[in-house]
């Protein structure tokens, strides 16, 4: 019975536009979207270079990138915490327990996913696209943009996948953000907090938003992959 009652309260919160609740959603989106906007160009470029260039140590970097997939987010949080702590090497920046720290954490978590997905998308592209572009006299940048445009659905899938991972990530966000109300409290850390308080309604409401987002992103990703597959 409690489950039904809690869900009813959660829906009420969502419909009534509870300001505290939507503030948390806003903080979440701002940090995660911001992190992806900042890291995506860099990571996509790295993935493209790894797919198209050959240089010593390339294989090793690819293996490391794939291994970083499984890097626990709490360890990212721990390392970042020690770096940003007042006693840490970057302590003077006073970034610990800020949105910036959370954004850095999410960039680190998303980067390997973006690199690896872009890498395999570019490798899967028709090699003639790149050859043709070069033959037609396109410069390096022009060639890269042409190839990436060709595999844009794969790249989009990479970005969606990275977003799905960081929007629901709790370990790193809690450690370097500190779950401060109105500042660094995002959806996952708020849900964790509400549960320890025994206040389930807001937790369930945020859980609904989070699941809707995750499902939406997954649908978008399937669509991107489906659209990509049809073209080839």
């Amino acid at each position: 019975m409690e489950l039904i009652e809690t869900t009813r309260q959660a829906l009420e919160l969502l419909v009534s536009g509870d300001s505290g609740l939507w503030r948390i959603v806003w903080v979440s989106l701002k940090i995660s979207v911001g992190a992806l906007i900042l890291i995506s160009p860099l990571a996509i470029a790295a993935g493209y270079l790894l797919a198209t260039q050959s240089f010593p140590g390339r294989r090793l970097i690819v293996v490391i990138t794939q291994a970083l997939f499984a890097f626990p987010t709490v360890v990212v949080g721990l390392l970042l915490y020690m770096l940003l702590s007042r006693q840490g090497p970057l302590g003077s920046l006073q970034l610990l327990f800020t949105q910036t720290a959370m954004m850095i954490g999410q960039m680190l978590i998303a980067a390997p996913i973006l690199v690896a997905f872009t890498l395999s998308a570019v490798q899967g592209a028709d090699p003639r696209v790149r050859e043709t572009a070069i033959v037609l006299g396109a410069g390096r940048l022009r060639t890269a943009l042409t190839v990436l445009g060709e595999v844009r659905f794969g790249v989009m899938a990479a970005v969606f996948n990275g977003f799905g991972r960081v929007i629901s990530e709790v370990g790193c966000a809690l450690m370097v953000g500190g779950n401060i109300a109105g500042m660094t409290r995002n959806m996952p850390t708020a849900i964790a907090l509400e549960t320890t308080k025994g206040e389930f309604a807001q937790g369930v409401a945020l859980g609904i938003v989070l699941m809707a987002l995750a499902l939406g992103v997954n649908f978008a990703m399937s669509w991107a992959q489906g659209a990509g597959a049809q073209r080839q």
Binding site: G178, N179, A181, G198
Partner: protein, 273 residues
């Protein structure tokens, strides 16, 4: 022959299941929901072995904020509760969720802050005045913000002052345990309200000093109560009563006063005899 084999296996399976059930009934653990302060400070690790040795009962501790601890009791997820927020405890009893509430002990709270002490609180003995100064100076303050007993105590001070703490730009509601809040206050050079036990347990890791102490309003009484057996028939009520009886006995009270960190007594027994 095949039938016989099947019969034997069915009987042994039945026996196994019954044996498990019987075993369960004999060796039921006592589930205790309590606050992070009793667990983090090491008090429970000191007390429970003594109780367990005296009664051959295993205690499983779930350490959460006062709000959650009472919720666990209300839902019948635990057998006994040991918390510190008197108004909530009284409501818990009045609503029929628990019985046999007993005073157990108290500890005291202190206001800690950075050595620089921007709001000049050092040496003060009035908690309310200290809070007023923090608000006046717009000084950084890290709040538990998690509905715990400590948070409720802090909120009572702001209410008494008629101040909305969130209007202070330096106010941070962390929504985390005492240990995390102290670390955060240390990192941010901010003030915080903490129980003395957790502060002493973590002192070496903190750039924080005790600035205000000794106000009777900072005394923090703990109460123990059993979850109402009339609500949940499967609750381990007998062991819960034995635990509360032991905590408030001469033996239990003596043990509480013997618990020390760095030679300092942190909890003071006050059970009514």
């Amino acid at each position: 022959m095949i039938h016989l084999c099947r019969l034997i296996s069915i009987i042994s399976a039945l026996g196994f299941v019954l044996g498990l059930a019987a075993n369960n009934a004999v060796a039921r653990d006592l589930r205790l929901a309590t606050t992070t302060s009793t667990d983090n400070s090491g008090l429970l690790r000191f007390l429970l072995p003594r109780f367990e040795a005296a009664h051959a009962i295993t205690v499983r501790v779930i350490s959460v904020g006062t709000g959650k601890a009472l919720k666990l009791g209300e839902n019948g997820d635990v057998d006994a509760v040991l918390v510190h927020s008197r108004p909530d405890e009284d409501r818990f009893i009045a609503q029929g969720h628990g019985v046999n509430r007993r005073d157990v002990m108290y500890n005291d709270f202190v206001i800690v802050g950075p050595a620089g002490d921007p709001a000049a609180l050092r040496g003060g003995r009035d908690a309310i005045e200290a809070f007023a100064r923090i608000a006046d100076m717009q000084a950084s303050f890290v709040s538990r913000g998690d509905d715990s007993g400590t948070h409720k105590m802090e909120v009572r001070y702001w209410v008494e002052l008629g101040i909305q703490p969130t209007e202070n730009a330096g106010y941070r509601a962390a929504g985390r345990g005492m240990g995390e809040v102290l670390l955060m206050a240390s990192e941010l050079s901010a003030y915080a309200l903490t129980d003395r036990a957790t502060y002493y347990a973590m002192k070496d890791k903190l750039d924080l000093q005790i600035l205000v102490e000794g106000d009777t309003r900072l005394f923090n009484p703990y109460g123990a109560m059993a979850v109402n057996p009339a609500k949940y028939s499967d609750i381990n009520f007998d062991d819960a009563m034995r635990f509360i009886e032991w905590l408030t006995s001469a033996q239990g009270q003596q043990a509480i006063s013997e618990f020390k960190i760095d030679g300092k007594q942190l909890f003071f027994p006050n059970a009514a005899r």
